[in-house]
Symmetry: D2
Subunit: 290 residues, 4 copies
């Protein structure tokens, strides 16, 4: 089928390729002249036959503006799909706004990273059944080949919600492996730490795709000595904890994984300065001066 | 090759079957007359040709006594393999004791649970290279078919150490999924929670064997309504946190997963009674009386 | 000086008494005829000489509506003080709205609970210096007698912000004592748990007002056996964690204290159901059925 | 009464002074010739009239050897008091050993730090009632003047156990303030952070001695800019978490405070290296190279 894609970065560009390889007619728009198929959103709309479907795959910070611009050139009956990392709570208001123009809306959480073009992208979709049905040919081509990798999770917002929780879980999983790695690396007994991780890839309870990747990383750099222990966080982890707080869900594991990322980006910890100050005040304990 | 197995419960019994299917000659001893091949440890020793190898697969609580009894009927040059859930710190002293009798010792962390007989058992081995080499035919048959699932992790103790960390990571992984599950289950937006977990099995960052199992559990009981939120812990999780404390490894994620299991077994929380008492004292906040 | 108070519950009523005892002329309004001094907000405004100052001390849920109603009967030059548990992020927009009518606004975080009438209330104030100066006679009479208990924390919003953090810290402090209590209560060695807490009230690093209260609670009920381990949370704890997430502050301690309150209100833990389900799937571990 | 003290460092030396000021006859022994009263343990024993009482106040690492040496010069009927930071689990075996020589044993957890000489030391005592009774004149003089600051917590070991839990709680309390400090320090609204802490010293729920000390520290250095966020831990915090693990007490708050100290001493986090490695592997996320 025909699809417009707005945003042809690492994700959008790869998705265009995967869809074209599957026989779809894709018209892509991007600010960068090197990758775009058309010169403007208006031209994008022109090249597509109504009722159109346009997939927006841009950084979260510009999603709102992009969709607003897109809505100006689309017509009643068209559908906009937001495949970016939007906060689920933005989806409802956005869908209502578009609905007043007769434009449909689907929110899609997309997982798969740089591996997606080859292996397929996992898709978590929120929106009306009718809109989902219209996009199914696209979803079928984007998703992995097997029986999994696609879910219609609920009404508008549910796709991004599911993706948010996916990422929250991802934070927790990664940090569980990471703590185990640190313990093994400090152990006096285990002399073959990369070998231990590699061995776990089959037959164990902890086998997973993340473990496969960790094995790969340890093959390249057995002590991870080329890396700094520094990690950004990308919104979904924070929103997951915010939601846990809102819905009164105890979430020590995922929150701890998030907080560890915060700490990884600090040159010094103001909290630990306060602890050091207190220890000095009551016990005369040695302090480390700047 | 020939192998003695002491302990023919769920694990030991299945291992005997897997080894026999692979062509090994296995003599098993168990207290239960229905499953044992021989009437006593002495008979077990008799049935095996020296130098013998005997695999002990008994509950941690009786491992020490079992190995002591076994040492009495074995001869210099024999090897004892402890495949149970022993604490790594018991391995060194045990190996030294056996070494004084000329008996070798290997500690093997075994993962695979009820799935091991069919899929193979992941093996993490600690001990001398010479002893490991002698047992390799057995290890080869027990481990999964692929290139992973076996590691010689280091000297005596390293096998149980690696298994301990494996289980600590397992606690963290499970709890990350569990927190995500609870959030999805409470979400007003996601109407198809089991579908979301199922979809994650391909193309996502969080795909894993544990996820496959969670999908299976949700297929059987989509709201897990037949279960109580109660979980035992089996030693390794606690030892992992103890080791983190000893080696000064920050371990908030795995510790939180362990603490959640502790809490799951409490009818009421003494700590929260203290919080309730304080809130009543300073604020006259409503308390719930027993 | 003259002051209006809207809301004469436990807090507002006691504050009226404390202010009158200090010689101020206080006119109070409350929906309840038994405690109110006037029949309506309009009458309240009438009884006060402009420029008026009216202190709002109502539940957070009705603060916005109360202030809107009050603004209708006040005049340019008057000041509204919100002493309730408002979220700091509501203060700015509210102050702007009032400013368009020429009405000033102060946000005041108030601590002291049921003990405040006698000991004084700690006050954390946000707003313009000019408005703070006008209210100083009131603040002076409400606050405790000593040199502490009052701060002008910053511009509008800073008072509630400081109070929010105060409460977040309070959660952490309470839970630290609570965990220590639980450990002592389970110890086989310490036979005099209430005596230990009592002894700590002098000479130790952990002495505090909360400890005094815990001693009091343990005097009344040495094993806290009359209480259930159940605790509500009141907004500020959640907002503190939300702010930590927003500002990338690692906050494991306060978050854990908050999560423990969430857990205390659950009959069963959905997360632990998922853990139990997983353990059953991979290990055939016993599960507790509902 | 008469008392021997072994170890005249910051704590032991101050205690000698406080006891002498109270009229006791104190004979002190220390390796350092500048502070010792006698040349050897033998001379210490000689200078005291049997039945003797000798208080050992030496670093935990040398406590065992010191007590062994002392036992050689003491006689049946004498009492040894260990006031150092021993692990409670060492007390029982030690007391049994001494009991075979007819020597009594008390374990005393001492709190008060550098402030103790003036304000008194809080004492948590474990041991037989008979031995406690004999030492009461000493305890009375060491403890603070008020009605608190002393407890006979239980049999041998209970004193150090109570002190251990005291320190565990202390870790949690300090970190709660520390997290609140960091949040306030990062807030855009609160412009007077030291003023906020100072104001809390009266009328609030969070008032405490630690808060007084934090105010003092912030007076000296309002942004704690002279300090590094680095803190040692001294055994008791670790033992508290170990005990929580042993007794199945959920202890997220105190454990998190301990883990934060561990992290404060790391130049880089091996766990976060693993997280960074994983993020790079699956998402091509930017990594920070060493």
């Amino acid at each position: 089928m025909q699809l417009g894609i707005v945003g042809l970065g690492r994700m959008g560009g790869n998705m265009r390729e995967r869809l074209r390889a599957a026989g779809h007619e894709v018209v892509g728009y991007d600010q960068s002249p090197e990758v775009t198929d058309v010169a403007s959103l208006a031209e994008l709309a022109e090249k597509l036959t109504a009722p159109r479907a346009v997939w927006v795959m841009v950084p979260a910070a510009v999603t709102e503006a992009t969709i607003d611009g897109l809505a100006e050139v689309l017509s009643p009956g068209d559908i906009i799909i937001d495949g970016g990392n939007s906060r689920f709570s933005d989806d409802g208001p956005r869908a209502e706004r578009l609905d007043r123009q007769g434009i449909g809306y689907l929110d899609v959480g997309v997982s798969g990273g740089v591996w997606g073009r080859e292996n397929g992208y996992a898709l978590m979709v929120g929106g009306d059944q009718e809109h989902v049905a219209r996009l199914m040919p696209i979803f079928e081509s984007l998703k992995p080949a097997g029986e999994f990798g696609f879910v219609h999770a609920g009404p508008v917002g549910a796709g991004h919600y599911a993706k948010m929780v996916h990422n929250g879980i991802e934070y927790g999983l990664m940090h569980a492996y990471a703590e185990g790695y640190e313990l093994l690396a400090k152990s006096e007994l285990v002399t073959n730490v990369p070998g231990v991780f590699k061995s776990w890839r089959e037959g164990t309870v902890v086998r997973s795709w993340l473990l496969d990747l960790l094995d790969r990383a340890l093959e390249e750099d057995p002590e991870l000595s080329s890396l700094r222990g520094y990690a950004e966080d990308t919104g979904e982890g924070r929103w997951t904890v915010d939601e846990a707080v809102r819905l009164a869900v105890p979430m020590n594991v995922i929150a701890a994984a998030l907080f560890a990322r915060f700490a990884s980006r600090q040159d010094d910890s103001p909290a630990m300065k306060a602890v050091a100050a207190l220890r000095f005040q009551f016990g005369g304990h040695a302090i480390h001066k700047n």
